[in-house]
């Protein structure tokens, strides 16, 4: 997780306009979601992965390790859908397990494939955003809406403290493991309980310390953040328009297409 943020900070796409990136990802997510055929989500996934890897200069091995590990959950749910949803249509395959018939029909297979490609396209869009935009820049973007002001400050502070507490958690956990804290089931339950408890106490104390340090830096209920603004280049706008136009074209020509 630490590395994901580092990658975003190092990516050349970081210096592109945040609004443009948010709009592109939003369109990609929505188009993938509304598509009735698996072709369009597949197309969006390929475009987004290519953009992240080529323009964002993300290490390929790391990207696919993360992408595939998350996508494996989607594969499992696709299998569940293929077997359990009674989608109608012809039966493609069936098995009789002790009198319990499980079957895959064309309807359920199409549904499973659609859900799988939809997950892949959504995931590719989200990774494009989080691997090319540092979180703090993304949040200061949303801070412009004054209703979300306090909420976004909370988001930024939480983001900071996640790393502090993760480091603390790992330290306590390895200290416990070194003292045989996880040697048996009963003992590991006890250790995990103490770990959570002391983490919570640390959390409260850290909250007090944070308030003190914010107060001594003139905190008056508002946290000012540097809001980086990048201009939209002509080439970026052109490429984005091309992407949106091709999404529309693929949607129009493949909307009725199904694999099974």
């Amino acid at each position: 997780m630490r590395t994901l943020d580092d990658i975003a900070l190092l990516s050349p796409l970081r210096y592109k306009n945040t609004t443009l990136k948010v709009i592109l990802v939003f369109i990609g997510l929505m188009a993938g979601l509304f598509s009735p055929s698996p072709i369009l989500p597949l197309f969006i996934a390929i475009c987004m992965v290519a953009a992240t890897l080529l323009f964002g200069k993300i290490p390929i091995g790391m990207y696919f390790k993360l992408f595939l590990s998350v996508l494996s959950f989607a594969v499992v749910s696709a299998f569940v859908l293929a077997f359990f949803v009674h989608g109608g249509g012809e039966t493609l395959w069936s098995i009789n397990l002790f009198g319990w018939v499980i079957s895959i029909t064309t309807g359920s297979a199409n549904l499973a494939l659609l859900v799988l490609t939809r997950s892949a396209s959504g995931l590719a869009c989200v990774f494009f955003l989080s691997m090319t935009t540092p979180m703090l820049e993304l949040f200061s973007y949303f801070k412009r809406f004054s209703f979300l002001d306090v909420f976004m400050e909370l988001v930024m502070l939480i983001y900071r403290y996640i790393f502090v507490f993760l480091a603390l958690l790992l330290k306590i956990q390895s200290a416990q493991a070194m003292r045989f804290g996880y040697s048996s089931f009963k003992r590991s339950m006890h250790s995990a309980g103490l770990l959570v408890g002391s983490l919570f106490v640390q959390t409260l104390e850290q909250g007090d310390r944070l308030y003190l340090s914010m107060n001594s830096r003139c905190y008056d209920g508002k946290l000012p953040y540097y809001d980086a603004k990048y201009k939209i280049m002509f080439s970026d706008a052109l490429l984005s328009l091309l992407f949106i136009a091709s999404i529309a074209a693929v949607f129009y020509y493949t909307r009725g297409y199904q694999f099974f």
Partner: protein
């Protein structure tokens, strides 16, 4: 166990988003009011949100030889801070899980937030508040409240999936969740009980201040 990005069809994604936005607007209004009145709350809420995230990334000892499991992390926050604040914090945590880890997603954020941030904590809190004043063993109450927070979230998630893919699939989804999630919830409940005991010993005044435990209960725990 979150609903993955893109799993829900758009009608249901939109429906749960709409529902969650209403809940979140109420929650954010409350947050704005609380922070304006009492600005030292913001840092405390911030570290609590980070706590929920870290807890949900904690690898628990496995029960039936499963590789590793992780808790929902909302149980302790619910009994300490109440459901309204837990919902807002949980929304932020789910946002981070979607963006940083790819767990859950942006299109399914509404559904996940409703099940894990609102429905589970609300039921657990109602149960805890009702039981806390009775004479029933406080450890048992905490244990059951944490289990309810976890299981209610998963039942809701199964229901959301079943609503989206045909109601006849509900038993299948429930069975899948039951097999994987009941042991996790029990382990989480046991751990939170040990944690509450520890916190009552070190910082008992926090629980009496928030009304989570009465002074007699803290004193009894420390005996």
């Amino acid at each position: 166990m979150h609903i993955m990005e893109g799993v829900l069809p758009w009608e249901w994604a939109l429906f749960w988003w709409a529902l969650t936005i209403i809940i979140l607007i109420v929650g954010i209004f409350q947050l704005n009011k609380v922070v304006r009145k009492n600005r030292e709350v913001l840092p405390l809420l911030a570290v609590s949100g980070a706590f929920i995230f870290v807890l949900s990334s904690l690898k628990l000892p496995s029960v039936f030889g499963m590789s590793s499991t992780h808790p929902t992390g909302t149980g302790l926050s619910t009994i300490a801070f109440g459901p309204a604040i837990t919902t807002v914090l949980c929304a932020i945590v789910l946002l981070f899980q979607a963006l940083l880890l790819g767990h859950g997603g942006l299109t399914t954020f509404g559904a996940n937030c409703f099940a894990m941030g609102f429905f589970g904590p609300l039921l657990a809190w109602l149960f805890y508040r009702a039981m806390q004043k009775t004479n029933i063993n406080i450890y048992l109450t905490i244990f059951l409240a944490v289990i309810i927070a976890g299981l209610a979230s998963y039942v809701m998630t199964a229901l959301q999936l079943a609503l989206a893919f045909g109601f006849e699939t509900l038993p299948e989804f429930l069975a899948i969740f039951a097999v994987t999630q009941i042991p996790i919830s029990i382990v989480e409940g046991l751990i939170i009980v040990v944690a509450v005991k520890f916190i009552a010993k070190v910082k008992g005044e926090f629980f009496t201040k928030t009304g989570t435990l009465t002074e007699e209960q803290v004193a009894k725990m420390n005996k």
